[in-house]
């Protein structure tokens, strides 16, 4: 019924070179998804809002980074611009628009986000044009790839995985150990009480949205050298990071990490065994997880 190529899959599993290559590419997909999904899950955990326009931040991050790189020629500055620009965008978006629909219907929130998906895509089309763009690999990383157990691993991939892991650790520790982290968790639990204690919850909400936007923007900036840039690029990432957050459990950072790696591996190895049904495989996996554990793998309770 469905086109499958099990020979290719078993052949790859038997060879260490192919295994290393596919695992790395799975990690790349997973880590980029994690950065987007963790913002999504954080925003949902604290604000109880499903930010349907989160993919737009990923897209803006990539475009900001590309422009900054073309203007300055510095890769580090490009990353900074991608992350900082989307953080600002997230803050404005939350304060000006999203804050008006808190407490109203979930459908209204989704609708506002849907409106911005449409608007942001067209804004990008207006500024950067509708055609495919590419940022190009920065000179510092145009070196010979590493060979690990016969598998080819470009050094840039290692940087990408490293940055994402560092972000995960900082975020996890920051939320668990620091004062700000405690305030954020408290605001997620009981915003009325936090506000009564003299803490500006509006500022926290804006901050969390900015943080989420920044992480998605960073993901976009990191992806810019290895992916092509189009006005609709945020969308597929959004759908996949939704799957990740739902599988991992809405509101759980560890869940987002595990979910992202799982989806990355499914994409990477699935593209060998089921070339046309890779996406279907992800949805199938999501259905299975949700039916057996409706709150996701690491979700605690139904919000």
């Amino acid at each position: 019924m469905l086109p499958l190529d099990l020979d290719a899959l078993t052949g790859c599993l038997a060879s260490s070179a192919c295994l290393v290559t596919q695992t790395t590419s799975g990690f790349i997909i997973g880590m980029l998804l994690f950065l987007v999904a963790v913002g999504l899950t954080l925003i949902f955990g604290v604000l109880k809002v499903v930010n349907f326009s989160h993919g737009a931040f990923y897209m803006f991050g990539a475009y900001f980074a590309m422009t900054a790189y073309q203007v300055t020629g510095s890769f580090a500055l490009a990353m900074l611009c991608g992350a900082a620009g989307t953080a600002l965008l997230g803050l404005i978006f939350e304060r000006v628009f999203m804050s008006r629909v808190y407490g109203s219907d979930v459908l209204m929130q989704l609708l506002v986000c849907y409106a911005f998906v449409l608007i942001f895509d067209d804004v990008v089309r207006m500024i950067w044009g509708p055609e495919f763009k590419s940022m190009g690999m920065p000179a510092a990383f145009q070196v010979a790839p590493l060979f690990i157990a016969g598998g080819v691993v470009p050094p840039y991939y290692l940087l990408l995985i490293g940055v994402a892991l560092v972000a995960a650790v900082i975020l996890g520790l920051g939320l668990a150990r620091t004062r700000i982290g405690k305030v954020i968790r408290a605001a997620a639990h009981n915003p009325g009480m936090v506000s009564a204690l003299g803490i500006n919850t509006g500022l926290i909400y804006g901050g969390v949205f900015a943080l989420g936007g920044m992480l998605a923007g960073l993901a976009g900036a990191l992806a810019a050298p290895v992916r092509s840039l189009t006005p609709g690029m945020g969308f597929s990432v959004l759908i996949e990071s939704f799957i990740v957050t739902v599988i991992g459990g809405m509101g759980s950072i560890l869940g987002a990490l595990i979910g992202a790696i799982l989806i990355g591996m499914i994409r990477s190895f699935g593209s060998l065994g089921f070339p046309l049904f890779t996406e279907g495989l992800m949805y199938l996996f999501m259905v299975i997880v949700l039916v057996s554990r409706p709150t996701g793998l690491f979700g605690k309770e139904v919000a």
Binding site: L2, V106, L107, M108, V112, Y114, I119, F277, V287, V302
Partner: protein, 338 residues
């Protein structure tokens, strides 16, 4: 018998006769609407207008059936479009492969939809709110991926090409534009009337109760799961009918019919028109299609214009157009009564 019980006993027949009367009124309105639509081709030779009404029928049935879930039962389905796609593909495939008469293929498509909706519904309706939305979305994308990858059956991303044969039946020739138009209008009016009956029936009020308080509903002995599954399947049938009209109209079926954006548009239509009135989604359908047609003609930046209109409704009005009109009317009437 206490005084209270006696009073209630007197009230029941009155409510029944009232519902009987409102049913006659609905049938009359439906007949009048159908008559107006049927006369339209004689008044105007505009093919574009008839096309517009056919598209309104397809999306109107789809959006109104989604409102049975969203507005009446409080089940926000993000995958309702899968049944629209299923209807289009099911009907198209049956017509292309088997050469059955149109009515038989129509019924066969609805039977297939019932089976698939029952299986998917049985898995989904147990889940709450946002999780229900996500799982329905996942099923939608699963069906979309299956359509894309099962190339030998569905034609993959090219869709069902080569046209759908439309042999005449009972003197109705669907390849004739006016016949197709009348058939679409009839399906729309009958579909709306049936959905209206569902919404006004005791079952419809059970659904409203589940929406407002599912726990209380189950305490007084309502099988919530069964009621939700029933309305999920019924809504799927009407969405599938919308898909069949669409397949007949374009004489084909495309993967976009099963893509999640169809579901997104359905939700949007509902918000645009309003979910508290029965005809709100129909008004929303007409609004969105007009908006679609004019904006795409005027500017290539369709998204920005549509986005701003959505923002106006979501942040400005905070409700759909019909909700707004009904509330405004009620306020005016109360005001003049003082």
């Amino acid at each position: 018998m206490t005084e209270l019980q006696a009073e209630q006993a007197a009230v029941v027949p009155r409510i029944e006769s009232q519902s009987q009367r409102s049913r006659y009124r609905d049938v009359l309105i439906a007949l009048a609407a159908f008559a107006v639509l049927a006369i339209l081709p004689m008044l105007t030779g505009s093919k574009a207008l008839l096309d517009f009404v056919i598209r309104c029928s397809a999306f109107g049935l789809f959006a109104t059936s989604l409102n049975l879930l969203v507005g009446f039962t409080g089940m926000v389905s993000f995958g309702h479009g899968m049944f629209f796609g299923l209807g289009a593909y099911g009907f198209g495939l049956i017509m292309q492969r088997s050469g059955l008469p149109v009515p038989v293929a129509f019924v066969a498509t609805l039977v297939i939809t019932t089976l698939i909706a029952a299986v998917i519904g049985a898995i989904c309706v147990r889940l709450k709110e946002i999780y229900f939305a996500f799982v329905t979305l996942a099923f939608q994308m699963l069906i979309h991926s299956t359509i894309l990858s099962w190339v030998s059956l569905t034609g993959g991303d090219q869709g069902l090409r080569g046209g759908i044969p439309r042999p005449a039946f009972f003197g109705v020739d669907l390849s004739n534009h006016v016949h197709l138009y009348i058939t679409s209008c009839a399906l729309l009016v009958i579909g709306l009337l049936l959905m209206r009956q569902i919404a006004q029936s005791p079952f419809g009020y059970t659904l409203r109760m589940i929406r407002d308080n599912a726990t209380r509903a189950s305490f007084i002995g309502i099988d919530v799961w069964r009621a939700k599954l029933t309305i999920f399947v019924l809504a799927a049938l009407f969405a599938s009918t919308g898909g069949i009209i669409m397949a007949l109209f374009v004489s084909g079926a495309y993967p976009e019919f099963a893509y999640w954006t169809i579901s997104g548009e359905g939700i949007f239509i509902n918000m645009l028109g309003g979910v508290t009135t029965f005809l709100g989604p129909m008004v929303g359908t007409v609004l969105l299609l007009i908006l679609n047609d004019t904006v795409t003609r005027l500017t290539e930046y369709y998204g920005i214009v549509l986005g701003i209109v959505i923002l106006f409704f979501a942040i400005g009005l905070r409700k759909g157009l019909m909700d707004f009109v009904v509330e405004w009317y009620a306020r005016r009437r109360d005001g003049s009564g003082e």
